[in-house]
């Protein structure tokens, strides 16, 4: 992060009043809005980078405390990563509806949403931050919340699994789309006779440099396996895993249900190669490690449970702000009591820009960050 010795607007040490004046000059809040909220307690504006579930939840909470928010989202839509899912574990509720509810809350007089807007540079001022967006517009705010999120792992990097080479090899997001359309089909457009899930693609893999566990894939595979069986009861479903980590409330029960009610077969072994068969299906090679016997299996679909990596935005901003943590994620001040804080006052963190999280966790984290910001601004 650039430390600006001389502030853009002249004064060396601007007093809070001066900051406020400057804020007015940036004109991010319309006059009408300010009139409407004359009783505003915290007239200072908070910039939120990233309009995912964490960012949106933080914005909602901040406005509840009458704090104006300016939200930046690099993509044309809010909440895309969650919206890309169909149903979410463990209760199979609708991901689209969840995002819809959250997006609706963004339609608030105190929230300014800038879509298609990427923050390219963050300059640290005394007591404030100036964010430069890709259109060249500067935004000066007293507090910033980084919620720039994650990106799904690109399975092409594991070429041996044939993603992007064989049509029968898909990733877990593509399966979500198929499930939403109720069109889980093999590469020939037929109902698949067999579907194989493979865990830990891009996670827990030193070869691609990701030593960490992405945490959500185990339960996602269990959930997707159940959904597949609900839509296609005659399809055989196998899940190949290295370890099953079903740690959340209701997860173990879902696993049990998948085994008992849906006859999903769980195999302890990693798949190391995929090849095509003459009839356009996929042949995989693995080992049943509990038996100590290598095995081959032909399947219609091989679903790669791709892990979470820091999004390009997270990686870039983490680097420019000097908050770069392991694997390109950003680093919080401490993992217990100061997890929403960075070592820069006024610069806060929330959600999957820090590490893999599931939806509820990211939402909670956004909420917690908002409260930290309010605490900071009141000081």
């Amino acid at each position: 992060m650039k430390e600006r010795e001389k502030p853009v607007h002249g004064d060396d040490n601007p007093k809070p009043r001066e900051v406020k004046r400057r804020l007015k000059s940036t004109k991010r809040i319309s006059r009408r809005k300010r009139l409407e909220f004359e009783e505003v307690e915290l007239p200072l504006q908070v910039a939120i980078i990233g309009g995912g579930v964490a960012g949106m939840e933080a914005a909602s909470v901040l406005t509840e405390h009458r704090c104006p928010v300016i939200l930046f989202e690099a993509r044309p839509e809010l909440g895309v990563n969650v919206k890309n899912k169909y149903k979410i574990f463990p209760d199979f509720s609708d991901a689209g509806r969840l995002v819809e509810t959250m997006t609706k809350a963004m339609d608030h007089p105190l929230i300014t949403v800038n879509k298609d807007t990427e923050i390219v540079e963050i300059i640290r001022e005394p007591d404030a931050y100036t964010l430069l967006d890709n259109k060249g517009v500067p935004h000066t705010v007293p507090a910033v919340l980084l919620a720039s999120g994650y990106e799904p792992f690109d399975a092409k990097r594991k070429e041996e699994l044939g993603f992007g080479i064989y049509e029968g090899v898909i990733n877990s997001l593509q399966l979500e789309d198929m499930l939403r359309e109720h069109k889980v089909l093999n590469s020939l457009g037929e109902d698949p006779r067999r579907i194989v899930f493979l865990q830990c693609v891009g996670s827990r893999d030193e070869k691609v440099g990701n030593h960490y566990c992405s945490k959500i894939c185990c339960i996602t595979a269990v959930k997707q396996a159940i959904e597949v069986k609900r839509q296609l009861p005659d399809t055989e479903v196998y899940v190949f895993y290295m370890d099953l980590r079903l740690w959340g409330q209701g997860y173990e029960e879902l696993y049990r249900e998948a085994q008992e009610q849906y006859s999903v077969r769980f195999v302890r072994g990693r798949i190391s190669e995929a090849a095509s068969t003459f009839d356009g299906r996929v042949q995989i090679k693995s080992e049943d490690t509990l038996l100590g016997q290598p095995l081959k299996m032909v399947t219609d679909l091989l679903v790669l449970m791709i892990g979470m990596e820091a999004s390009p935005g997270t990686q870039k901003l983490g680097k420019t702000c000097g908050l770069e943590g392991p694997y390109g994620f950003v680093r919080s001040k401490s993992p217990h009591l100061e997890d929403n804080l960075s070592d820069k006052p006024g610069f806060f963190l929330a959600g999957t820009c820090k590490r893999p999280m599931h939806i509820a966790e990211a939402v909670n984290d956004g909420r917690a960050a908002a409260l930290e910001i309010i605490k900071y601004l009141r000081k």
Partner: protein, 110 residues
């Protein structure tokens, strides 16, 4: 000896009390990444020699972990050292070197 018409059955269980931990430690010192194995089976699944049946590198090194060395030397000779196992290992275990060192250790300590 009197003929009893039967012999004492060998126990199925591995007596870990009899095992020489030093042997494993020596191997681990040579190939530190060996300790990181999580037994995912990727090596065995991809193994060129394993495709012909019979050879299971994961099983072999697990047996060595428990100092069960009988027959391993002969079994390991089936490896073609092609290196696929090393390439797919998610924990970055240097399996090719492990195999060479293991073969040496087994040959040295008969």
């Amino acid at each position: 000896m009197a003929d009893f018409g039967f012999s004492i059955s060998k126990p199925q269980s591995i007596d870990t009390n009899d095992m020489d931990v030093g042997r494993l430690q020596a191997l681990e010192a040579k190939v530190p990444s060996f300790k990181r194995c999580i037994n995912c089976g990727a090596c065995t699944a991809t193994c060129s020699a394993g495709q012909f049946g019979g050879f299971n590198i994961r099983r072999i090194h697990n047996l060595y972990r428990w100092d069960q060395r009988k027959g391993l030397e002969k079994e390991l000779q089936q490896c073609m050292l092609c290196g696929k196992c090393t390439l797919v290992c998610p924990r970055g275990v240097n399996l090719r070197y492990l195999i060479i060192r293991l073969r040496k250790a087994l040959a040295d300590n008969k």
